[in-house]
Each structure stands twice: as structure tokens, then as C-alpha cells.
């Protein structure tokens, strides 16, 4: 097995709220190998975005803080690294693409200047070489007539083109790891299909690893190699994408899969997970999913459940997972 490129262990992130320090990410561990795409899946408030922001130490502080754990990238722990060293990594070895390309690009600078700036920050090169690199990456993301578009401002691009430009900027320094947080969520489906195809072909060409944060299981099925499912600040299951969809081992994963309004099925009543996810300041005792779990027993409400290895490359946080026969995607 190839060595992990990114290894997160027991990550704890807290935020200061009216209720005191609240754990939004509570003991998250996972790893990504070179060239692998890991889907980090969860509903709003599950802690998936905070986890992804932690990697590059971008959790806003205050009110947030990384209260424990380690994030090892290429052997080095990023937690607590001095800002100057982090800045050397951000945009170079690790790059990020966000959901809202309108807000992640600077409206006051041209697309060309913004990409060239990243290049010049990390590479010893002339202005001209940096601009040439900008043309190259804009070409890569299939922006038509890239050289002529260097002088365009973000508002002159459509949503899909802006997201391509943001991906181009992320690729400018050949990152080893791309963190993509809901990069297609704000896009129309036909444009989403283009961007997913683009990410796939770029990865085949350059072999970077991708941490893909999303709530959309369809997108996960399309793109990811492995999946980590988060619920209430914790990972409840990790598995290869085929195993996860075919035979989920955690009741929450089963619930999510059953809840997907799937094309090709009409007129049936939709499966819904009863209730709502807990707030981080009122986490239930025992398994955090037990108030919504159809398989919960008394013991589930009492003791904390650990994430256990089940078989090769699979982990699940459910004390009944061995005895339950859960339904996968159809």
C-alpha cells in the first residue's frame, strides 16, 4: 500500500460560542494517498468544511481553534506550523477550491494577474513567465481563447467559467493535494457535469490527490475512490466508494443512501431520516446518531462508540454494525 500523503489523526476543532467552547470536529482521523480522491461527505453542520479548512490552518481564529490532533502532510505536522511556513505550502503543495468562486476570486484584479501572483509567490520566475503559466493553466481548464482572457475580471466570467478559473489558479503550482469544498454545488447541473469531467481528466494527467468535500452522493459516486462519512463532528464510516454504496455498514450511511431521490424511481414515498442533526452544544450521550437511528438499543444511548476497523480499508462507528444487514444503493 502506498504511503499516505495526508494523514489526519484525532483532529479536534473547537469554536467559542454562547455555550462556551464547543467541539465542532471531534477526533477525526483519515488519510489520503497520492493520486487518490477521498470524498468527505456529510450534511450541513457535520464538520466537513471545518475539517477541510483545518488542513491549511484556515479555521478562523478567533472564534475557532485546533484543540488537538495532528495533520501530517508529506511527513510534517501542519498543526502549529509558523504562518510563514504555512504560506509557503498554501497554493503550492496544497491548493484549495471553494464553493463560491465569486467570493474566492478578487473582484478588483484580472484573472491573469491573480493566477500570475500565485506563480510568482512560489516560483522564482519573471512576470512574463508567470503570465505564460497563467495562459497554460487557463488552457488546461478549457477556457476558450485563454490568452485573450488574461485581462478579464471575474465578473466578466459566467459562474462555470469562474469556477474553472479558480481551478486553474489552484493548479498553477502543480499541487500534490487539491482540497475542493463543494466546488460544484453552486453550479447548474450541466455545468457541474463539465467541471467533474475536468477534475477527473486533470487528475489522470497530473496525479494529484483530491480531498472532495460534498453533501451530494451523486457527485461522490461519480468521482471519488474512497469516502469518509461525517455526522455530528465525527467520522461514522470510511470505505471504498463501491463498498460504501453497495453495502453501507453504518445506519446513517444507509439513511443517506435511501434518502437520495434517485432518478428512475417514481411515485414511492421518500425515505427520510426522522428528526434533525444535533447542535454541537447538545450532543447526545452514547452514539451521536442514536436519537435518529432505527436500530438503536439501550446500550447505544449509554456508551461512546469508537471507530473500529472492519475488514480491509473500512472503518465504522456502530456497535451493531456486525449484526445489521443494511441496504445499499439500488
Amino acid at each position: 500500500m502506498a504511503e499516505a500523503m495526508l494523514e489526519i489523526a484525532d483532529l479536534v476543532v473547537e469554536f467559542l460560542t454562547d455555550y462556551g467552547w464547543v467541539r465542532v470536529v471531534d477526533g477525526v482521523s483519515f488519510s489520503i494517498r497520492p493520486g487518490e480522491t477521498l470524498g468527505l461527505v456529510g450534511e450541513s453542520g457535520s464538520g466537513k468544511t471545518v475539517t477541510s479548512l483545518s488542513v491549511m490552518q484556515l479555521v478562523p481564529s478567533p472564534p475557532g481553534r485546533i484543540a488537538g490532533g495532528s495533520i501530517r502532510f508529506a511527513g510534517r505536522d501542519l498543526v502549529g506550523l509558523p504562518e510563514a511556513e504555512l504560506e509557503a505550502i498554501r497554493g503550492d503543495d496544497i491548493a484549495m477550491v471553494f464553493q463560491e468562486s465569486m467570493t474566492s476570486l478578487n473582484p478588483a484584479f484580472t484573472i491573469g494577474d491573480q493566477i500570475a501572483e500565485v506563480v510568482r509567490r512560489h516560483r522564482a520566475c519573471s512576470r512574463r513567465e508567470a503570465r505564460e503559466r497563467a495562459v497554460e493553466v487557463l488552457d488546461l481548464v478549457q477556457i476558450p481563447d485563454a490568452r485573450a482572457r488574461l485581462g478579464a475580471f471575474p465578473h466578466e466570467f459566467s459562474g462555470g467559467m469562474r469556477q474553472r478559473a479558480a481551478i486553474a489558479m489552484a493548479l498553477a503550482c502543480d499541487p500534490k493535494l487539491l482540497i475542493a469544498d463543494e466546488p460544484t454545488t453552486a453550479l447548474d447541473v450541466t455545468v457541474q457535469a463539465q467541471v467533474l469531467d475536468l477534475l477527473r481528466s486533470l487528475q489522470e494527467r497530473f496525479g494529484m490527490a483530491i480531498l472532495f468535500v460534498t453533501h451530494n452522493l451523486g457527485v461522490v459516486a461519480d468521482l471519488c475512490d474512497r469516502v469518509a462519512v461525517m455526522y455530528a463532528g465525527r467520522i461514522v464510516e470510511t470505505a471504498s466508494v463501491f463498498d460504501l454504496f453497495e453495502s453501507p455498514r453504518h445506519p446513517y450511511t444507509e439513511g443517506l443512501l435511501q434518502a437520495m431521490p434517485q432518478l428512475g424511481e417514481r411515485g414511492q414515498r421518500l425515505a427520510a431520516i426522522p428528526g434533525t442533526p444535533p447542535m454541537p452544544w447538545q450532543m447526545p450521550q452514547g452514539c451521536r446518531f442514536h436519537p435518529r437511528c432505527p436500530y438503536a438499543e439501550t446500550a447505544c444511548t449509554e456508551r461512546d462508540v469508537r471507530l473500529e476497523a472492519v475488514g480491509q480499508e473500512r472503518h465504522v462507528r456502530c456497535r451493531r454494525s456486525g449484526e445489521l444487514a443494511l441496504a445499499g444503493a439500488e
Partner: protein, 334 residues
């Protein structure tokens, strides 16, 4: 067919974008020649991507904005011609639920007042009767009476959407306009609301105009579907036919673009990835609005606008591939 509850004919909505120094005033035709009917108790879904005009259609039906031409009839009344008191009288028949349950509820009102307000405004109930009816409405949407004195911030997104629905059904409307009503919710909560809408429809016989970009959701809730592109309906018909045998190349591409939540199926199926972006509604292409991205484009598409042609299995599509009179070609089912 029975008389439609809602009948929209040749609806056109144009926005004037004011210019400035060196910039002329421009006209944006958000909705162009749109016609459809909704029967009592029926759910029509209007689907489309951003800029397709689907929300503008919803707002025009609600008379929240003025159409530049066309007619909208609700239950025999010409909604577009009514004003003042006459318009107010038909408002109870026509209610709306918005996308964002965080901004559609007044944060300073308790839930009893939020839900009871339409009953008070239209003089339907007061005092103890009002309280009783609000209680009934909350129960109808799955919320207990103990919620009545709470404020919106105390509720989750899904619960807020239930409250918005309770308010919308307070006046026993015949038509509920739902504009992306479940789009802001997580899947687990989204399905609770969709099931609630199904229940309300079978209990109260309300018709829905369901505006959405999410085809998975639409397939579950809709009886009929209208697909919009750049302000026009390019295809409409029974949901079953639209999803099993789409006739318009845009509908086909739209269905193909939705990833199937099953890696084995998703990675082996044939997908149509459309080139380019949706053109700006400020400068729509000549001819068929879809011709710039259509995999089947022909010369005629670039100059002439195809008319709606009936499709086997119900409904119609505006595409020259089906318009045998002009292009002479028929399209194989895929």
C-alpha cells in the same frame, strides 16, 4: 380534460435594465411566450437552470411582478387584469412558499402570529377560533402546539419550512406556488418536507406549481413537467414520459448530467456533456435558444424558432428534430 385551475397563455416578462453613462438601457426578456395549464389537485414542476426564467414565471403567476404581455387565469378569474380589492379577494386561492426559510419568516413574530396572520388579514378568524385554527395548522404540518409561542430562530431549517407551509395553507388555497422550496434543506430533511407536501395534496387537494432545478426531487413529486431554457418552455409532458423518453435534446442532456448515486451505474453510463455555458438572457441566440450547445444542431435551428410539436406518450417539444414539416427528420428514442 377538466377546466384547468390555472391557465397561463403567452406569458412574457421583460425587465428594463437601466443603463448609465455610456451604457444604454437594455431589455431582458426573462420569460418569452410561455403557456401552460394546471388542473385542480395537479402538480406541475417547472425545471430549468439558472436564468431559465422559472422563478420569474412563479412570481408572475403570484402577481408579484407585472407581465409585459400574456394572460393568467385562475379559477376563471383573469389574474392579470385584476387590481386592488378584486385582486385581494382572489389572493387566498393562491399562496407561495419560498426557498429560504431563514429570510421568509419575520424574526420578530412568534409562530402563532406568523401562521395566523393570513387568517387575520382576510378576516377569517379571531380570538379563540384563531388560536384553535393555528393549532390545527401546525399539527397538519407535524408541529406541536407547544411551538406556538416560539420565535423563528428557535427552529431548524426543515421546521421553518413546515411553518412557512402552515402559513401558506392557512387560507385553504387552491394553488400553492413552491419556488425551490426544498433546495436549501439537507437530504434527510428535504424528504420529510416532500412527504408532507404529498400528504397535504391528498388531504386538501391543493395543486402545486413546483419550481425546481433538482430533477431527482421533481421526478418524485410532479405529475407533469415543463422544462425551461432561456425564458422558454422547450418541452412539457407527463413526468413519466419526460423522465423515461425525453424528446428535447436539452431535456436529454439535463437528465444525463444528474449524477446517479451509485458508482457502478454512474461510471458505466453514457453521458452527454454539453459544451459551453447558458447564453446570457440579455443576448439570446437567434433561432432555437438551445442551438449554441445542442449536439444535434442543424442549419434551420440557427435561424428559425421551432414550434411545439406533440410527442408520443404525451406533451410536446419545441425542436426541429420532431417537427417533421420543417426538417423532415425524426429522432430515434435513446
Amino acid at each position: 380534460m377538466s377546466t384547468p385551475l390555472l391557465s397561463v397563455r403567452d406569458l412574457e416578462v421583460t425587465f428594463r435594465l437601466r443603463g448609465g453613462l455610456l451604457r444604454p438601457t437594455r431589455l431582458l426578456r426573462a420569460v418569452n411566450g410561455v403557456s401552460f395549464d394546471i388542473a385542480p389537485g395537479e402538480t406541475l414542476a417547472v425545471v430549468g437552470e439558472s436564468g431559465s426564467g422559472k422563478s420569474t414565471i412563479a412570481r408572475a403567476v403570484m402577481r408579484l411582478l407585472e407581465p409585459s404581455s400574456g394572460r393568467i387565469h385562475l379559477d376563471g378569474d383573469d389574474v392579470t387584469a385584476l387590481k386592488g380589492e378584486a385582486l385581494r379577494r382572489i389572493r387566498p386561492k393562491l399562496q407561495m412558499v419560498f426557498q429560504d426559510p431563514y429570510s421568509s419568516l419575520d424574526p420578530s413574530m412568534i409562530i402563532a402570529d406568523v401562521v395566523g396572520e393570513p387568517l387575520v388579514v382576510h378576516g377569517r378568524a379571531r380570538g379563540a377560533d384563531l388560536e384553535r385554527r393555528v393549532q390545527g395548522l401546525l399539527e397538519h404540518v407535524g408541529l406541536g402546539r407547544y411551538h406556538m409561542n416560539r420565535y423563528p430562530y428557535e427552529f431548524s431549517g426543515g421546521q421553518r419550512q413546515r411553518i412557512a407551509i402552515a402559513r401558506a395553507i392557512a387560507l385553504e388555497p387552491k394553488l400553492l406556488v413552491l419556488d425551490e422550496a426544498v433546495s436549501a434543506l439537507d437530504v434527510s430533511t428535504q424528504n420529510q418536507i416532500l412527504n408532507l407536501l404529498e400528504d397535504l395534496r391528498s388531504e386538501l387537494g391543493i395543486a402545486y406549481l413546483f419550481i425546481s432545478h433538482d430533477l431527482g426531487v421533481v421526478e418524485h413529486i410532479a405529475d407533469r413537467v415543463a422544462v425551461t431554457y432561456l425564458g422558454r418552455i422547450v418541452e412539457e409532458g407527463p413526468a413519466e414520459r419526460i423522465f423515461s423518453a425525453p424528446a428535447h435534446p436539452y431535456t436529454e442532456a439535463l437528465l444525463s448530467a444528474v449524477p446517479v448515486p451509485n458508482p457502478r451505474i454512474q461510471r458505466s453510463r453514457q453521458r452527454i456533456v454539453l459544451p459551453g455555458d447558458i447564453p446570457s438572457p440579455l443576448a439570446p441566440p437567434a433561432g432555437c435558444p438551445f442551438h449554441t450547445r445542442c449536439p444535434h444542431v442543424m442549419d434551420v435551428c440557427k435561424t428559425a424558432m421551432p414550434a411545439h410539436t406533440p410527442i408520443d406518450g404525451g406533451g410536446s417539444a419545441a425542436c426541429f428534430l420532431h417537427d417533421t414539416g420543417v426538417a423532415g427528420g425524426t429522432r430515434r428514442a435513446s
